[in-house]
């Protein structure tokens, strides 16, 4: 490989070298873009061969149901990872949203009955938490992993405080309908999740805000010089991530009909894994809604498969960790002078 490069240096002019380099980069990019899809097809084929009823409608719906909550989380996290930041507060915000919404609707521990209003309030509060996180990150100039880590711990603490140790059971009619109802055989939760995902994808691809996120992730200095308000965009991204984390927490609460801080536990890490598998880069600028979708689908199939093979959940987490390290190591751009801290 190196020989070839040196050879081309000797024989090509500067212009040709540049064209060669652009072509090489484009090819690399193509491979990066299509590798997850190929992986998905291979995984699906393995699934179809090893499980007889893999392609039945029932199983497809089942996989869609399993991927619905990771999909909602992935919406906001995609934006954050596109910036090159990370949001470790998702688990805490999810736990808080789930606990607080259970506290606000009809339940077994108090006489609140805010119904839909409660759900909207919790989504707004989660968005606000995300915005505050973003604000601290931007204004105090602190790395995101540290701000979000602290905010996550605070929100987990607040979640436990909300229900004072005994998880609240939800008795609300709306929640029961949403958790059990189906439209054309597809559970409402799945439909809601897919709608949230489509909305997130549309915002990312067809609004100035969405394109600004890409621009910042790719090259923050260049984006700033084109007049993008970096700080505001970042705050919006974290607000959006808080919003989707809140929605994911509420959906999880609808599913379990129980409000407790642990509904957020171990939810963030798999989604990071999924986005990275789908071709997202933790350095920012790479990935997108569609690749996040492919990643979540691959991850759900993998998780499904591991469960069927009877793998210990802790081993599953170890496998996730290995996947992230390998995937990040493969996709990281070492041609630039990388500084890893």
């Amino acid at each position: 490989m190196k020989n070839k490069w040196e050879e081309s240096l000797a024989t090509l002019s500067v212009g040709q070298q540049f064209a060669q380099k652009v072509k090489d980069d484009a090819r690399k990019d193509k491979i990066r873009r299509y590798a997850p899809l190929i992986l998905l097809i291979i995984m699906t084929m393995i699934g179809a061969v090893s499980q007889k009823d893999f392609f039945t409608w029932g199983n497809v719906v089942n996989i869609m149901y399993q991927m619905s909550i990771p999909l909602v989380i992935s919406v906001g996290l995609t934006y954050v990872l596109l910036l090159g930041s990370i949001d470790l507060s998702i688990e805490g915000v999810m736990g808080f949203a789930g606990s607080f919404v259970a506290f606000l609707v009809v339940n077994n521990s108090n006489s609140n009955d805010f119904g839909l209003l409660g759900i909207i309030a919790v989504v707004l509060i989660s968005t606000l938490i995300g915005a505050v996180t973003g604000f601290i990150h931007v204004k105090a100039r602190i790395a995101t992993f540290i701000v979000t880590y602290a905010v996550g711990s605070i929100m987990t603490g607040v979640a436990v405080l909300v229900y004072q140790g005994t998880p609240i059971q939800v008795k609300d009619e709306l929640f029961i309908v949403l958790s059990q109802g189906k439209l054309l055989g597809i559970p409402y939760i799945t439909i809601i999740a897919f709608l949230i995902f489509i909305a997130g994808a549309l915002i990312l691809n067809y609004t100035a805000f969405g394109r600004a996120v890409y621009a910042i992730g790719d090259n923050e200095t260049a984006a700033a010089s084109t007049g993008i308000n970096i700080g505001l965009t970042k705050i919006k991204v974290f607000a959006l991530c808080g919003c989707t984390a809140g929605m994911a927490g509420i959906l999880q609460c609808i599913r379990l009909k129980l409000g407790q801080s642990s509904i957020g536990l171990n939810q963030m890490f798999p989604v990071v894994t999924a986005i990275v598998i789908g071709g997202g880069s933790l350095a920012g600028g790479k990935g997108g809604a569609l690749s996040a979708f492919v990643g979540v689908l691959i991850y759900t199939e993998l998780a499904n498969w591991l469960t069927l093979m009877g793998v210990d959940p802790y081993v599953k987490k170890v496998i996730q960790g290995v996947i992230i390290i390998v995937a990040v190591a493969l996709t990281i751009n070492r041609t630039r002078k990388t500084i890893s801290k």
């Binding site: 930041s85 990150h137 711990s153 920012g284 390290i325 990040v328």
Partner: protein
């Protein structure tokens, strides 16, 4: 203009923040709680602070490089479980064994960060899963108590010499060693150089990879000792003991005035941070505040301390 003046004074205070906060915390609590500074209470605080001192002291070195070790708590859990289970077989020889285990854990983190050029928070978040897997599979029933007839081996740690628990004395000696490492060795100096400016350090001939690896190795070793201390203190193997400790340790380092961006700080500052945080948690405990508040309070302290320490001067620096 007035605004600008105010900002400068805040960054000046951040140098003395650790001292101000420790005086404030102990002052307020000793007024509110009559026997807050009593012999019994202080001894308890010392035992409480001893493992945390080591853990946060080691973690400081990773933070000097500008990295972070989010797996420190899981390493504490893992070594706490290993100590609790095998102390009956190995006796007190378990402490050097755990130290070796911890150094190896840190080496793995360091190699992954430097050789694969991965961000440290990703690596440590991933390896966390591995350490907690070891801890949880070795202790499937929640926690294992050290058998009664073997207790004599671990009792010495909480005994007192001149009213000071032995564990605390050892932790202080550990901090002293870390201070010597930080101030008077090439590794210590190069760790700071890497944190201040990697490219410049590399140009100046510093082996930056070696510096980063040694920071992670120190952190691993210290976390392992802290884990062994927890097993000695609790007299059992608890696989979840470290879960909340990562936050506490990072908050202690930040409260001491060590910069999260790397390049400046001191183990002694971390020590003051640890004492302050221990003071806060014990004080709240003695006031009868619900322990559920602990994470919230420490999280807020962390954000506040980091905000005060953050470098707002280097405007052109991109922070992600």
């Amino acid at each position: 203009m007035a605004d600008k003046k105010k900002k400068i004074s805040i960054s000046d205070y951040s140098k003395y923040m650790c001292l101000i906060s420790i005086v404030l915390v102990f002052g307020v609590f000793s007024v509110v709680i009559p026997n807050f500074i009593g012999a019994y209470s202080l001894q308890n605080m010392m035992i409480e602070a001893a493992p945390l001192l080591l853990m946060a002291g080691g973690l400081s070195f990773v933070i000097y490089t500008g990295g972070i070790d989010l797996g420190a708590g899981a390493m504490v859990s893992c070594t706490c479980v290993l100590t609790g289970i095998y102390v009956a077989d190995f006796g007190n020889l378990i402490i050097p064994i755990m130290l070796a285990v911890g150094l190896a854990m840190g080496l793995i983190n360091g190699l992954l960060v430097t050789k694969l050029k991965l961000p440290s928070f990703i690596v440590t978040l991933c390896t966390t899963n591995f350490w907690s897997y070891v801890a949880l599979t070795l202790c499937p029933n929640g926690s294992e108590i050290i058998p009664m007839d073997k207790r004599f081996m671990v009792r010495w740690a909480t005994e007192k010499v001149a009213g000071i628990p032995i564990m605390f004395i050892i932790a202080l000696m550990g901090v002293a060693l870390l201070y010597v490492f930080q101030q008077y060795t090439v590794y210590g100096k190069s760790i700071f150089a890497v944190g201040a400016n990697v490219s410049a350090a590399r140009l100046a001939g510093v082996d930056t990879d070696m510096a980063q690896i040694s920071a992670f190795v120190v952190s691993g070793g210290c976390s392992a000792l802290a884990g062994a201390f927890y097993a000695y203190k609790l007299k059992s193997a608890v696989p979840t003991v470290g879960d909340a400790l990562t936050l506490t340790a990072i908050a202690s380092v930040a409260l001491g005035g060590t910069s999260m961006a790397g390049g400046r700080g001191s183990v002694l500052r971390t020590m003051i941070g640890v004492v302050t945080i221990t003071g806060v948690t014990s004080g709240l405990n003695m006031m009868g505040v619900d322990p559920l508040w602990k994470d919230i309070v420490i999280g807020i302290i962390l954000i506040g301390a980091v905000c005060l320490n953050s470098d707002t001067k280097g405007r052109d620096l991109i922070i992600k």
